[in-house]
C-alpha cells in the first residue's frame, strides 16, 4: 500500500514542483517572452473554445496514424523477407546503412519539390522516421529466431509456407514489437517537424502559425499538447504490448 502510494505521489509531486518553479520563473519575464503555466492553460482553453484546436489535433493524428501504418505495412514485409534471405540482406544492407543516418528532415526540400505543399511531405517525413526502426528490428528479429524452432518445424515436415507464417513470423513478433515501439516515438517527434515545414494544418503548423503572431502562449500550448498526446500514444502502445506479451508467453 505504501509503495503504491509513492508510485502515484512521487510523479505527481515532481510535476507540481515543476509547474510551481515554472510559474515562479515566468514572473520575472514579460509573458510574450516566457509565458507562465496559467497563460498556457488559458491559451489551450481559448484554442479549444474557438474550435481550431480540435481540427489541428485531428489532422495531426490522422497524418501520424496514416504515415505510421504505411511505414509498418512496407517495413514489416520487407524486413521479414530480408531477414529470411540473408543473401538479399547482404546485398541491400549497405544501402540501408547509408540511407538510415540521413535525418528525415533533410529529405524535406526534396519532399516539397516532389509532392508539393500539404499533407504529402509531412506524411513522407513521418513515414521515413518510422520506417527504419521497424525495418531493422524486423530483420534482426527474424535472424534471431531460435534454431530449435526451425529444427522442430523441419522435423515434423512443415512446408516452407507453414514454417514462415506459423513459426518464423510469430517467433519474430516480440522483436518486431520493439521496433514498432521505437518507431512510434520517432514518428511522433517528426510529425511536428514535418508539419512545421510544409503543412497548412496540424499541431506543428499551429506552433508555426503562433510564432508568426508572436503568441508565445500558443506556442507553448502547442508544445504541451504534442507532449501530452505523445504520452497518451506511448501508454496505448504499452497496453497493447502487455496484451500481446501475455499471449506470447513473454513478460513485457
Amino acid at each position: 500500500m505504501k509503495t503504491k502510494l509513492t508510485h502515484i505521489l512521487l510523479p505527481i509531486s515532481s510535476l507540481i514542483a515543476f509547474t510551481v518553479l515554472w510559474q515562479l520563473a515566468a514572473r520575472r519575464y514579460p509573458p510574450e517572452q516566457f509565458p507562465s503555466p496559467s497563460d498556457v492553460v488559458k491559451a489551450i482553453a481559448e484554442l479549444a473554445a474557438s474550435g481550431v484546436l480540435w481540427g489541428h489535433i485531428a489532422i495531426s493524428l490522422i497524418r501520424f496514424g496514416g504515415a505510421y501504418l504505411l511505414a509498418v505495412a512496407v517495413a514489416i514485409p520487407l524486413g521479414l523477407f530480408l531477414g529470411r534471405f540473408s543473401r538479399c540482406h547482404r546485398a541491400i544492407d549497405p544501402l540501408i546503412q547509408i540511407l538510415r543516418p540521413i535525418s528525415p528532415i533533410a529529405w524535406f526540400p526534396l519532399a516539397v519539390l516532389w509532392f508539393g505543399i500539404g499533407n504529402a511531405p509531412a506524411v513522407f517525413i513521418i513515414f521515413l522516421a518510422a520506417f527504419y526502426p521497424v525495418l531493422l528490428s524486423t530483420i534482426s528479429a527474424v535472424r534471431a529466431v531460435s534454431p530449435v524452432y526451425l529444427k522442430v518445424a523441419a522435423n515434423f515436415g512443415a512446408n516452407p509456407a507453414m514454417t514462415f507464417l506459423r513459426v518464423i513470423v510469430p517467433a519474430a513478433f516480440p522483436g518486431i514489437m520493439v521496433g514498432l515501439h521505437i518507431a512510434v516515438g520517432t514518428a511522433w517527434i517528426h510529425l511536428v517537424a514535418g508539419e512545421m515545414l510544409g503543412a497548412q494544418s496540424g499541431l506543428g503548423f499551429m506552433i508555426v502559425d503562433a510564432r508568426n503572431f508572436l503568441r508565445t502562449d500558443e506556442i507553448m500550448a502547442g508544445m504541451l499538447l504534442v507532449g501530452l498526446l505523445g504520452l497518451a500514444i506511448y501508454q496505448g502502445m504499452k497496453a497493447v504490448e502487455r496484451l500481446i506479451g501475455r499471449r506470447w508467453g513473454v513478460k513485457a
Binding site: 524452432y149 529444427k151 522442430v152 522435423n155 515434423f156 507453414m162 506459423r166 517467433a171 499471449r247 508467453g249
Partner: protein, 267 residues
C-alpha cells in the same frame, strides 16, 4: 537384444564427421562408427563432452550430413529430418506463443491430419503424459518437467517409429528426472518406438538402455558397447544394477584417463 540376425532399423556404416575448425585445421568430430539398432530397441549413447554423441544423434536424425559413410533407417539413406523420426531436444523446442494443445497440434497439422482427428490424437497424446489439465496453458506457465512431457506428447502424437532424444532430462532437477525416466520407459513399453537416447549421466543410461554405447573423445568414437540385461523396471539400488554401473564407470575412467593423458601430451 542386439541387432544380430535381424534387419536393422537404423544402420550406420563407416560414418565419419569432420569439419574445419576456426583456425582452418580439420577436426574429426566422429571417427568411423559402425552400428546397428534394431526396431523397437532402446539405445543410450553416453560419454563426456566432445565425444561426438550429439553429432551422432544429429546425423541419424538428419540434421547433419556425414562426411563419409552411410546412415540408413528402414534401409533408406537419411537425407534430412523426417516426421517418422522425431527428435526431442534438451530445451524442449516448444513454441511459447502456442498453447500446450496447439503445440501438439502443430506436428499433426504439418502432417495434414484432418482437424477433428488431429484434435483427438493431440488430446490422446496429452493424456498419455498425464497433462490433460494443462491443454490450454502456455509453455511459460509450466515447469521444466511438464514442458518436456509436452514435447514428448507432441512427438508421440505423430506416431513416429523412432524417437531421438538429445539429453532430454539434463536440465531438470534430480527428482523430476527419475520420474520422467520411469514415465518414458512406460511409454516405450506401450508404443515400442525405437529410441536413441543421448545422455552424459551413466546411471540414466543404465536405467533406460537395453544397450549402452559408451563414447570417447579426441576423436569422437565408440569405446564400448554394453548390453544391459536387466528386466524393466530396473531397481536403481539393486545388486545387478550396481554391477553394470561398476563396469561402465571403470570403462569411463579409462576414457577419462586417456583424455587426460592426451591433453598432457598436447601441452
Amino acid at each position: 537384444m542386439s541387432a544380430i540376425g535381424q534387419t536393422a532399423k537404423i544402420s550406420l556404416r563407416g560414418v565419419e564427421k569432420r569439419f574445419a575448425s576456426a583456425r582452418g585445421e580439420e577436426q574429426v568430430a566422429l571417427s568411423l562408427v559402425d552400428m546397428d539398432i534394431a526396431s523397437g530397441e532402446f539405445v543410450c549413447l553416453v560419454g563426456p563432452s566432445g565425444c561426438g554423441k550429439t553429432t551422432l544423434i544429429n546425423l541419424m536424425a538428419g540434421f547433419e550430413r556425414a562426411t563419409t559413410g552411410t546412415v540408413t533407417i528402414d534401409g533408406r539413406p537419411v537425407t534430412g529430418p523426417d516426421p517418422d523420426h522425431i527428435m526431442i531436444f534438451q530445451d524442449y523446442g516448444l513454441y511459447p506463443w502456442k498453447s500446450v494443445l496447439d503445440n501438439i497440434l502443430f506436428g499433426l497439422q504439418a502432417r495434414r491430419v484432418p482437424a477433428p482427428e488431429a484434435r483427438e490424437r493431440a488430446r490422446a497424446a496429452l493424456e498419455l503424459v498425464g497433462l490433460q489439465a494443462a491443454a490450454g496453458k502456455h509453455p511459460h506457465e509450466l515447469s521444466g518437467g511438464m514442458k518436456q512431457r509436452v514435447a514428448i506428447a507432441r512427438a508421440l502424437a505423430v506416431e513416429p517409429s523412432v524417437l531421438f532424444m538429445d539429453e532430454p532430462f539434463a536440465a531438470l532437477d534430480a527428482f523430476t528426472r527419475l520420474y520422467l525416466q520411469d514415465e518414458l520407459l512406460q511409454l516405450w513399453s506401450e508404443k515400442r518406438p525405437t529410441v536413441v537416447f543421448v545422455t552424459h549421466d551413466l546411471d540414466e543410461a543404465i536405467t533406460l538402455g537395453q544397450r549402452v554405447v559408451l563414447m570417447a573423445p579426441n576423436p569422437g568414437r565408440v569405446q564400448r558397447v554394453l548390453d544391459v540385461e536387466l528386466v524393466y523396471p530396473r531397481e536403481r539400488t539393486g545388486n545387478d544394477f550396481s554391477l553394470f554401473r561398476r563396469e561402465l564407470f571403470q570403462e569411463f575412467h579409462l576414457v577419462h584417463q586417456q583424455a587426460a593423458e592426451e591433453e598432457e601430451y598436447s601441452i
